[in-house]
């Protein structure tokens, strides 16, 4: 499982570089911590092409899914310490939630 996530992160990094042309975005993903059944920070603003990465610090699994039908945010089950990264290339407001604990919600504004 962990190997797969590492792969995702690496892949995401390549995409970020190709989309934004900025190596610093790929090297420094913006982290969203999942802890105490909440996203922290629950609202963030990032530049287009940024890699956003969720890190699960809970003892329970979470699944991060975007609200929109065509969302790029679709994580597998993230067990404790698992990470999931995605590159948000297109400006807009991305609302997401945990599909198994739907009261957990967050927003990413991409500019």
């Amino acid at each position: 499982m962990k190997a797969i996530f590492m792969h995702c992160v690496v892949l995401a990094g390549c995409l970020a570089a190709s989309v934004s042309g900025s190596a610093s975005n790929a090297a420094d993903p913006v982290n969203i911590r999942i802890g105490n059944f909440a996203f922290a920070p629950d609202v963030i603003t990032v530049a287009a092409g940024t890699t956003v990465q969720w890190v699960n610090e809970d003892d329970a699994p979470h699944v991060v899914i975007g609200v929109d039908n065509d969302t790029p945010i679709k994580s597998p089950a993230l067990d404790t310490a698992d990470k999931y990264a995605v590159v948000l290339a297109k400006p807009g407001t991305y609302k997401y939630f945990c599909s198994i604990h739907p009261h957990m919600v967050g927003t990413i504004v991409v500019k």
Binding site: D59, P76, H101, P102
Partner: protein, 313 residues
Amino acid sequence: MNERDPKIESATLSRRRLLECSAWAGAGLVWSLSGGIPRAMQLAGDAMAEVPAGGLSFVQISDSHIGFNKEANPDPTGTLTAAIAKVRSLAVAPAFMLHTGDVSHLSKPEEFDTARQIIGGYGGDVHYTPGEHDVIGDNGASFFSRFNGSPNRKWYSFDSHGAHFIALVNVLDLQAGGFGRLGTEQLEWLERDLRGRSASTPLVIFTHMPLWTVSADWGWGTDDATQALGYTRKFGSVTVLNGHIHQVRQKVEGHVAFYTAMSTAFPQPAPGTALNPGPMKVPAEKLRSVLGIRTVSWSPGSAAAVTDRSLDG
């Protein structure tokens, strides 16, 4: 858990209900003489009543979380095995068993297989409904294929001993910011399923998440539960059994009695007593005192009893 106050029971025993209950007695079965609400007890050891001919006893287990491997219980297969051994040792063999979801921790095939193998040790029929941990990634297709016989058999009902049992699924297509959810298609099915049934038929609804809001902050509820329960309004006796919150809670509201069950894997905190609703760590030697099984039984001429039994009881 407390037994109901007999003064309240007699006050709620309307003439109509009395007639309905008498009809039941005449048929050789009484679900409850207390306004349709089963009494609840928390007992240990040998306090379970014998169920004479015509009575019914069945078991509910919940939240086995096979695949969980954290500190709160590194061995959920061991505790599920202990739970099944407890079912097998009951003085009265249950007619069947209900599993109210979170069979697995992460919907992995090997987790389902292990659970199925252990639960198979019971030897009788088991009726399942999934938890949110059982439907990750495929919207439950694998779960329904394995445990309900078909990927399309999600919610269903069956009759046993004159009672009508309904398996509801409130963990699919959950909406951002919401709780558990039944959805329009299932609600329409439920309305059809109940239409035309006698009001004196006892209903037993089993599902994963609570159908009453135990904690809004922790998402412990079901968005469209009120609509579902509205379809049961004419029925004198409605018992709702669920899991999800890994602790015993009960509530009586009108004609409906709600009971949440213990897990066989790990406990969760009472609402507001912890930073989050995740697995609660207890000393290893105490773990089996907060895990358990539930029996629901009733006998001709007496009230039904919901009994929660810890694994170390």
